[in-house]
């Protein structure tokens, strides 16, 4: 028997029982819709986390001096003097995977302007720092390479510092402030960034040329860290490897010696967050799958009733020449048709639910194509799986008994 004929018969059976078919489909519809909506929410939150991390500079790579042991006492990494300006130069010259790089020295102190003062941290960097940290300027401008060279006493300040040191709302750019009693000219204000994921205030900073901080505030020649930006997020691990090799060369480490520095990318952080939200997605999908399963059982139930109800019809079909396989296919196709139609409606409902969630609840959502494909495939499989047994029961009927069935 041709497939087209079977489809016609199945279609007819469905159309003749519209309400019942719709009710049967409801389970599948809700199941599929919830799978799609749940996955969209999961994907959406994953993406928004990724975006948050990106805004912190997801391709950021940091090089710090390694902790050392001096006379049996482990030293804090920040007190190490092993990271040199030469290391920075070597990396800058030899690397191919980085787009920006800056030396970093930092120290804490009191920012003073007139009667106001505020404890903050000063970062000595070069102009590329803004690109690495993805920072914008609210007003003023970044210092130049020339100002770095001349160790100019210029600073940029974050919003928190502005709020506390200039509480009356006057324009900070052009004003003089003192940091640890050294006068600086404010040449720019950073755009507000708020707290980072760890609750740190990213606006409580003072930025100055690293030369200035090294010479005038800290009086050191070494670097606290080197910050760099890989060309892209995907290149970050490669950049880490490359930097490690350059640094080992620089520090003349033998093969059996451990690194006396550490190179880190944001990769680990991203993967931690991703795995958390993946877990969430799996949970949501598990819940949704259960409703899909219940939908499948609904189909099986109705197919059973349908086979029972149409026993006489089955007998007649067999009497006029329908083979067992024809009957099997008829009911199987009917089940699949129900589940797939339910699937299509479910996808539509899921998509509208996603739009609704995005629009009215303002949750980040992102519909992944794979979620549609998967739930569709699951629907077809559900139809086959739950339609098979009733269909086989129908096919195994004895035509004589079926014909006499009342």
């Amino acid at each position: 028997m041709r497939l087209l004929n079977l489809l016609k018969i199945a279609y007819k059976a469905i159309v003749l029982n519209k309400v019942r078919t719709l009710l049967t489909m409801l389970g599948i519809i809700i199941g599929v819709a919830s799978v799609i909506a749940m996955l969209a929410i999961g994907e959406g939150s994953k993406e928004s986390i990724r975006e948050t991390i990106s805004s912190m500079g997801s391709n950021m790579v940091t090089i710090r001096p390694g902790a050392d042991v001096r006379g049996g006492v482990r030293q804090d990494a920040s007190t190490m003097e092993s990271l040199k300006f030469d290391d920075y130069l070597a990396i800058k010259e030899q690397t191919t995977m980085l787009s920006y790089i800056t030396p970093v020295v930092n120290g804490s102190g009191q920012v003073i302007s007139g009667a106001n003062n505020w404890p903050s941290t000063i970062y000595g960097v070069n102009p590329e720092y803004l690109d690495i940290k993805v920072l914008g300027l609210q007003s003023g401008s970044m210092f130049t390479d020339a100002e770095v060279k001349s160790a100019s006493k210029v600073v940029l300040i974050g919003q928190t510092v502005v709020d506390n040191v200039f509480p009356d709302g006057e324009e900070p750019v052009g004003q003089m402030i003192r940091f640890n009693n050294i006068p600086f000219k404010v040449i720019g204000v950073l755009e507000e960034k708020g707290e980072n994921t760890f609750g740190q205030d990213q606006d409580d900073v003072v930025i100055a040329p690293y030369t200035t901080v090294q010479k005038r505030i800290l009086a050191i020649t070494f670097l606290h860290q080197i910050m760099a930006s890989a060309i892209s997020e995907e290149d970050a691990p490669e950049a880490v490897t490359q930097i490690t090799a350059i640094m080992r060369e620089q520090h003349k480490l033998a093969d059996d010696e451990d690194d006396d520095f550490t190179v880190r990318s944001m990769e680990e952080l991203i993967s931690t967050f991703s795995s958390t939200s993946e877990m969430l997605t799996i949970l949501l999908v598990a819940v949704a799958s259960i409703s899909l399963l219940i939908g499948g059982i609904g189909i099986m139930n109705i197919m059973y009733v349908s086979v029972k109800e149409r026993t006489k019809e089955i007998g007649l079909r067999m009497a006029v020449g329908g083979k067992g396989s024809d009957i099997l296919m008829q009911f199987l196709i009917e089940a699949i048709l129900i589940s797939i139609t339910g699937g299509v409606l479910g996808v539509l409902l899921g998509l509208s639910a996603t739009v609704f969630i995005e629009k009215f609840l303002h949750w980040p959502t992102s519909v992944a194509l794979y979620s549609i494909i998967i739930s569709f495939a699951v629907c077809a499989v559900t139809g086959i799986f739950f339609g098979w047994y009733p269909a086989r029961k129908a096919a195994a009927l004895d035509p004589i008994t079926a014909l006499r069935y009342e």
Binding site: M1, E313, M318, V320, G321, K323, S325, P399, L403
Partner: protein, 248 residues
């Protein structure tokens, strides 16, 4: 000699019910030739239904020979039996067995749906022709609930004719109809038998039906007790005319 459509020789059918064996048919032999209108009669328990199931290739004999149109049915698989039913037999049932909420033409097309050799266009064409033969050309899109009992049985007859079977097998085909309608149906059978030369086997327990056929086989307790040609075949059309006119 006319072609033998049905050839049955020493046919036996036994059923096992628990520990007991029931002998429903105890060695039956007869042949039906092309163009015959045979009535198989018998009271309940005579083996009539078992005979019908075997004739209709719905069941197989325990032993003995059964050939339909030269094909031995014994040892055929379920699927092969289905094909024989599809191509060689036209079934007509007491309760019509039409598909509900399905138009007359679609009901008639049903056997051809299971025959992949027939195209969609040919199927429709043959179904229309069969409906014309039973006088329902103007009702092809009516569903069973829009048709009277007699008309429903005509649809069933058209369905039995549509696959050009070698034999029509009717099971109490007039059992649900009043006298007038059953005479109408019988006259249709007679006409199909006479003008188209269609072989008809009519299984019934009503003696008056037998008078319209050309041959009567009577079963009792699994044996053929009577098998004779009917010399004076009544015309169903004439009998119908004799019935008192219905008040409308």
């Amino acid at each position: 000699m006319a072609k033998e459509i049905i050839k049955i020789k020493d046919l036996k059918r036994e059923f096992t019910m628990g520990t007991e064996t029931v002998h429903a048919l105890k060695g039956i032999s007869f042949t039906i030739e092309e163009g015959q209108f045979v009535t198989i009669m018998g009271s309940s328990g005579s083996g009539k239904s078992t005979m019908l199931n075997i004739l209709g290739c719905l069941d197989q004999p325990t032993s003995g020979l059964y050939e339909i149109d030269g094909v031995s049915v014994k040892d055929l698989s379920r699927n092969e039996l289905a094909t024989i039913r599809n191509e060689k037999i036209g079934f007509i049932f007491q309760s019509y067995n039409l598909l509900a909420r399905t138009s007359a033409i679609e009901n008639v097309e049903l056997p051809l749906l299971y025959n992949s050799k027939v195209s969609t266009d040919e199927r429709r064409e043959r179904a229309i022709k069969a409906l014309e033969m039973v006088g329902l050309a103007d009702r092809i899109h009516h569903t069973p609930s829009q048709l009277s009992g007699g008309q429903q049985q005509r649809v069933a007859i058209a369905r039995a004719l549509v696959n050009n079977p070698v034999m029509i097998l009717a099971d109490e085909a007039t059992g649900n109809l009043d006298t007038r309608t059953s005479y109408e149906i019988m006259s249709l059978f007679q006409e199909l038998n006479k003008t188209q030369g269609i072989t008809i086997t009519f299984v019934t327990h009503e003696p008056d039906i037998a008078m319209f056929s050309s041959r009567t086989i009577v079963l009792k307790d699994g044996h053929v007790i009577k098998d004779e040609m009917n010399d004076t075949i009544l015309s169903a059309a004439a009998e119908l005319a004799k019935l008192p006119k219905e008040d409308h």
